[in-house]
Amino acid sequence: MKRNQKPVTRNQKKILITGNEAIAEAAIQAGCRFYAGYPITPQNEIPAYMARRMPQVDGVFIQAESELAAINMVFGAAVTGARAITTSSSPGISLKQEGISYLAGCELPAVIVNIMRGGPGLGNIAPSQSDYFQATKGGGHGDYHSIVLAPSTVQEAFDLAGLSFELADKYRNPVIILGDGMLGQMMEPIIVHSPQSTVHNKPWALTGAKNRRPRIIRSLYLAEGRLEKLNLEFQRKYRRIEKNEQRWEELFIKDAQIVLVAYGTMARIARSVVNKLRQDGQRIGLVRPISLWPFPNDIMGKVSKNIKAFLVVEMSYGQMVEDVKLSNLGNCKVEFLGRAGGGIPTEEEIINKIKGLR
């Protein structure tokens, strides 16, 4: 999937906005009228924006007493069929894992935003990509997946935030937007548009049993075999999502010998390395996963047949690299360069690493 570079038309508005606020506005545009969250840096612009914006659209803004309460408020809103969102950063997202597992177990749509910072523990407030495992492999207890989308620009943060509500409703599944402190804080011009929103019928939502049989939303199944059956249904859904929802951007893949793999903020630096080395005539390409779960296995598998090596670059000590290894079936080498805890691999470091691969 290529990055959209749509021209601005007369009824579209171009504004300068931070990544955090772009996500918040996209949620509003997508018809989300429920926000609950707890302050944590570097995503505080989102609750502040929502506190102003929600009342303008008759929506609900709640500053919760904790991350636990916030995700469970979102659970409550989702139970009624409402589009709901919570946002946080790494330590706060750890606290939300219980609620995300319950959302998955009850098959409730909701959007969770993680503007990642350095860890583990309290870590620091510098941008990081160290929560990849947590986001893509489940995170909470039980066999489940959240759909994970990783924007690389503020425009894409806006676009993917809108898409995340569609995917959440379509699959009745939690969707995580995985950004980082850099993307959240930076300002870029974006085109604001109301995403095409499908009206999703929600015959499971709790609205009061008026002229119908009562509905129950639960994840507890004690009868023998029942929970296994439910899990198999979930697995079928996850396979369907893997088939339908792989998203990525590719750059100079056709004749590339070495292909960088990076997502989010890291992909911006990787892109500039690729552009630079291409000017020198070097056969370098880039695959930028946009959906981290489902991981874009199809393109990775295809590309791996024609190249010498993938170089995975992350703001972590090697998380997505494991998925790259799994996806390429041993067709080519998989090299890794990563820094975390506030460190970001520089263009120079990446170029030196590439030199070493030749």
């Binding site: 709640i62 309460a69 408020m73 609620g99 009061g208």
Partner: protein
Amino acid sequence: MKKIFSRPQSLRDIQTHYCPGCGHGIVHRLICEVIDELDIRQKVIAICPVGCAVIAYDYWNFDCCEAAHGRALAVATGIKRVRPQNIVFTYQGDGDLAAIGTAETIHAANRGENVTCIFINNAVYGMTGGQMAPTTILEQKTATTPDGRDFHKEGYPLNIMNLLAVLPSVKYLNRVTITSAKRIKEAKAAIKEAFICQIENKSFSLVEVLSSCPTYWDKSPAEAMRWIEETMQKVFPLGRVK
């Protein structure tokens, strides 16, 4: 012949899983009678706890959802804020409401969420096998206080009503029990008042029901009722707090 007594429409005709002498069945029924009498069954959304009453939704004939342990009032907040036209209540035990969910309880109450909370206090964890609850009384033996609760180690039984009473947004607090026909009538009246408080948009309401757990009190059902009257009520006095 005129029919003067029947199963409430809100209560399903299903045998419950509760132990003999357990208070949950009585309180389930009282809630259902109140919901029928107020004619709100079609508007009700209940949040079931984690604890012995975890499958209360199998017994109730209205919309229900589960909540993670302790999070019922956060879930209730989300539901009621989106759908103020519905009547939203939580049904929570002492571990759920007063231990793992204390923060959710106090903050939902303090925000003045217009929901109703039915708090079942039986001074013990039932579902997990009779461990100490925050409301376990001093010297009460449980699986995790084999020599009885000792304030030096476990502190004193937590009185949630006293904590909530000081919050201006809390509009209705009443502690009742189910040890006799008279007490059961009082309990029903309190539950009804709490729901009316919500219907009239007055703000947060909570009814604490001192309830029996013969199994983990190691008592007969009759002894359990006497224990509530003679021992538990001294620590948790009955009556309207607010």
